[in-house]
Amino acid sequence: MTTKIPTNLKYTKEHEWALVEENTVTVGITDFAQSALGDIVFLEVPEVGTNLKAGSTFGVVESIKSVSDLYSPVTGEVVGRNSDLEGSPEKINEDAYGSWLIKVKVKDTSELNNLLTAEQYQEFCNTSH
């Protein structure tokens, strides 16, 4: 399966992407994830002000056929959620990297080193499926 993996992003093994801009991290799900899920019909993300822990679940994304947990790539506070996706979560299927879910303000940026690079994520997708 071919999938788009932009090189400017970081990735998790749970198929989230993270765009790092100073101490703010924008989070979404990868093209691989949206393709595996199929038609996305429901999204649940936390309110602004919620504290997230790296590696723990922060919400769910549902397609017609399945429910998947979302995992936070970083520890920090939710400072934004994408209101464009409320009512039209199928936009994630159309453009996974253009459809961010939340923005998180991180305290400890050294944590970002634990995330996968595009190259590592590509390798991970190739070997795990």
């Binding site: 199929g38 038609d39 019909v41 429901f42 649940e44 549902e62 017609i64 056929k65 429910v67």
Partner: protein, 357 residues
């Protein structure tokens, strides 16, 4: 355990189908989009490879009597050429499988069973076979099966076969495709008009390729599940299982107690339902299998057996098994979705009305 592949496996891969293991088989779960595949079947025509399902033939003087003894529905009095849906029960009334019996001609019956239950069903039937003058053969390995479903199914299929009358829903007809015999039944699992076509592997592969040439939408198991759930058809392993009887799954209409004798009759004659299968629609939230169902006091009264987002309604829909004596008199149902209660409306009619004849 190694998974099995249907003879159309390479076709599915070529079409970009996503392959998942299902009932011991590698099957296409979707090709492009579940939504598009569901809509193709509701509005136009789609085709499913369901070759994983099992086919048994019963032939001989006692064929009808034997099958009538095995299942709860009435086979003996149904006319030839008819298809009959029925549970297959144990002596204690629990459901081994649900299946379709096709009366091909006097002394020849075809039974189509769920893929996951082929061995269980065949061994059970074999154990009850003694004393009947008929053969029982498992032909699952030599037959492929396609389901062509949707309002345009008849006009799509008719020109391809040597003969195809505008047959009744739930009837069967033996005909041929490119000179090779096929058995065509006006049945399906979508609520729409459509046909199930049984034939040998090569014949069915050519027929599949013909459908692709004609731009019939290939549909996967995910669309099939949404379609059957929208019209509230039960699925073995969900609404039906080894522990429930037909009454528990709302299938009382398939238990024909006036029949002289059949396996399970003695128990089913005095048995009442322990559970009730209800249809629930949610304005918000998507119910999934295993989610608890609550009453207005937040007490658990049952469980969702199948749930999805209906493509047609654009709402969450569920079939749920409720303990009969806890069915709320106020008809207030809540579905517990990730520890949050979502209100659900009880409906008597199927969520979607299919267009079958």
């Amino acid at each position: 355990m190694t998974t099995l592949r249907t003879h159309l496996y390479d076709e599915h891969v070529k079409l970009g189908g996503k392959i998942v293991p299902f009932a011991g088989w590698d099957m296409p779960v979707q090709y492009t989009s579940v939504k598009d595949e569901v809509l193709a079947v509701r509005q136009n025509v789609g085709v499913f490879d369901v070759s994983h399902m099992g086919e048994f033939f019963v032939e001989g003087d006692d064929a009808e009597a034997f099958v009538d003894h095995l299942v709860t529905n009435d086979i003996l009095n149904a006319p030839n050429g008819k298809a009959i849906y029925s549970p297959l029960c144990r002596d204690n009334g629990t459901v081994i499988d649900d299946l379709i019996v096709y009366k091909l001609k006097p002394g020849k019956v075809l039974i189509c069973v769920n893929a996951s239950n082929i061995d269980k069903d065949f061994n059970w039937m074999k154990s009850k076979h003694q004393g009947y003058s008929c053969s029982l053969t498992n032909c699952s390995n030599i037959f492929s099966l396609l389901a062509l479903q949707g309002p345009k199914a008849f006009e799509t299929l008719r020109p391809l076969l040597s003969e195809l009358p505008d047959m009744e829903y739930y009837s069967i007809f033996e005909t041929s495709f490119q000179g090779h015999p096929v058995i065509v039944a006006r049945t399906g699992y979508t609520g729409e008009d459509g046909f199930e076509i049984f034939g040998h592997h090569g014949t069915i592969k050519s027929l599949w390729q013909k459908f692709m040439e004609l731009k019939v939408t290939p549909c996967g198991l995910a669309a099939r599940d949404v379609l059957r759930l929208e019209v509230c058809y039960p699925l073995y392993g969900h609404e039906l299982n080894d522990e429930v009887n037909p009454y528990d799954a709302g299938l009382g209409w398939t238990v024909k107690l006036p029949k002289q004798s059949f396996i399970g009759k003695e128990t089913l004659v005095s048995k009442t339902a322990k559970y009730k299968l209800v249809k629930l629609i949610l304005d918000k939230g998507i119910p999934r299998e295993g989610y608890p169902v609550l009453n207005s006091k937040n007490e658990t009264i049952g469980v969702v057996t199948s749930g999805t987002m209906s493509v047609i309604l654009n709402k969450g829909v569920a079939l749920a098994r409720i303990e009969f004596d806890k069915t709320p008199s106020d008809d207030v149902f809540l579905v517990d979705i990730r520890q949050k209660p979502f209100s659900a409306q009880l409906t008597k009619k199927p969520f979607v009305t299919g267009g079958h004849k």
